[in-house]
């Protein structure tokens, strides 16, 4: 039997910054509290992130762990419609690609979320 879970939005767990490298955007995700970092490591898999962005990116997702900064760094390939000066996008340099990440809602076992003081998400999924 699965343990009951609670919905938590990444917005309440992390802060982010992103930038560009050619047609790739990077997205750094930093846990707001060190004790939340292991949950991010567990939940923010490349598959999960890839599914979250969906059609917004055309390539693969790479992930790197920076436990020293309680951070994950994602490389989103094909995120910028050609990138740099070729891109016609408003966000040609991927500056706010990282805020899209914060919309993600993850499901955390209730006991764990309570123990770690994670705020529940009240919005629509």
């Amino acid at each position: 039997m699965n343990a009951p879970t609670v919905a938590v939005q990444l917005l309440d767990l992390a802060h982010t910054r992103s930038g560009d490298k050619g047609d790739m955007a990077n997205c750094g995700v930093i846990a707001l509290r060190p004790e939340w970092y292991p949950v991010l490591v567990r939940e923010l898999t490349t598959d999960r992130v890839s599914a979250h962005y969906g059609a917004l990116i055309s390539g693969r997702v790479e992930r790197f762990e920076l436990p020293n900064l309680n951070a994950l760094n994602f490389l989103l390939h094909g995120a910028l419609d050609g990138g740099g000066t070729l891109s016609l996008k408003t966000d040609a340099q991927g500056k706010v690609v990282s805020t899209a990440m914060l919309r993600m809602v993850i499901h955390v076992p209730v006991a764990e979320a309570e123990a770690l003081g994670m705020p529940a998400y009240s919005g629509r999924e």
């Binding site: 802060h15 982010t16 910054r17 992103s18 930038g19 560009d20 490298k21 050619g22 047609d23 990077n26 750094g28 930093i30 707001l32 979250h52 962005y53 969906g54 059609a55 917004l56 790197f64 762990e65 920076l66 436990p67 020293n68 900064l69 951070a71 760094n73 490389l75 419609d81 050609g82 740099g84 000066t85 070729l86 016609l88 996008k89 408003t90 966000d91 706010v96 990282s98 805020t99 899209a100 919309r103």
Partner: protein
Amino acid sequence: MTRTIRVASGQGFWGDSLDAPRQQVDGGPIDYLMLDYLAEVTMSILQKQKERDPAMGYARDFIGAIESVLPGIVERGVKVIANAGGVNPVACAHALLAAIARAGHAGKVKIGVVTGDDLLPRLDELLAAGHAMKNMDTGAPLSTVRSRVLSANAYIGSTPIVQALQQGAQIVVTGRSTDTALTMAPLRHEFGWGADAWNQLAAGIVAGHILECGAQSSGGNCLHDWRSIPDLANVGYPIAEVQSDGTFVITKHPNTGGRVSVPSVSEQLVYEMGDPHSYITPDVVADFTSIRVAADGENRVRVHGITGGPATPFLKVSIAYRAGFKAVGSLVYSWPDAMEKAEHANRILRERLHRLGLRFDQVLSEFVGANATHGHLAGDGRAAPEVQFRIGVRGEDRASVERFTREIAPLVLNGPPSVTGFAGGRPKVEEVIAYWPALIDKRVVTTQVEVLS
């Protein structure tokens, strides 16, 4: 007592605050001011300017910046390192000397000029010698776009800047130095770090990375608790207080706004990050997973523990080439049903472009206010009270792009209702200057240093 060198950031890109350099020099004690003016696209713009006028091709804002700091740097011996030379560092240095003379300081300030990064005059010779300069992303050889190349510059490291400082330069002007070299060079010069002192060199790179985007590490563009960041109108730009072992503190001048905190510095550390285990520069490969950051008092963050390893045998080359034309236009649709109207306008415009037989490599429609930046994650935009319909085209055929720019305004009278926001007139056709990243054997790039006064 351990000696500390203070390197202050006064410019994060060409277009950054005109006042920041002076505020850094006059706002408190610093030893060096670093000014970063170059982005990838900047070099090609400067190359075009130089083609029109051989005395141009550098960041002209830099001359004004030096004029604004001149009394302070002459009085207190502050040194300045800037990559403002663009594709013409020598012309930049001469313009600087003239400005210094006009200000009555002739002969008092030695200027170091670093050249050798510009590979454009040598491009065919290098290709003939077997340096293919393949595109790092696609693997294509440079010969496929050779005839359209506008500029080609190697990203050079800190060594020639150190040489200029050793020769007594107070202001060092470079072309395409790496952004981080502008911070690294003073530290190598002051502390005598050897070319294989990998951990110290890596620390210099990390300090450079934190400083190179100006206030982006001291409270600007900081998402963490952004509402509480005080007085961004008077934001203090970051300063690195570095010790000889490579340990440093990021801070800012007293009586300035913004915030230096572990979150503000951490956000800058992950900015534009690739593989954190190997942050590759001409001087060293730094390991960003080794960085330790800790609060060290108000607006002070201590950074330490950084490790690095040997540099690679290559330098990155930034090549700009002509890649067709583009134009972007927009209209604003209002409530009621703003999104539906904007989407309808998009369908109509695309059908007209199709009927005209125009040729584009790419057409992109966005609905600003609804989903331009977050796509489907932002929902369907039906509740948006107003929506900017923004459409861009790109292609090799200039005539098609020109015709596109004439097809937007008619929609105001012959498309969906409740439309406005066309006061700017027809969109402009822009030439697209694309960027070709490549690597080259660092042995073929030789730099020169000259000191003028």
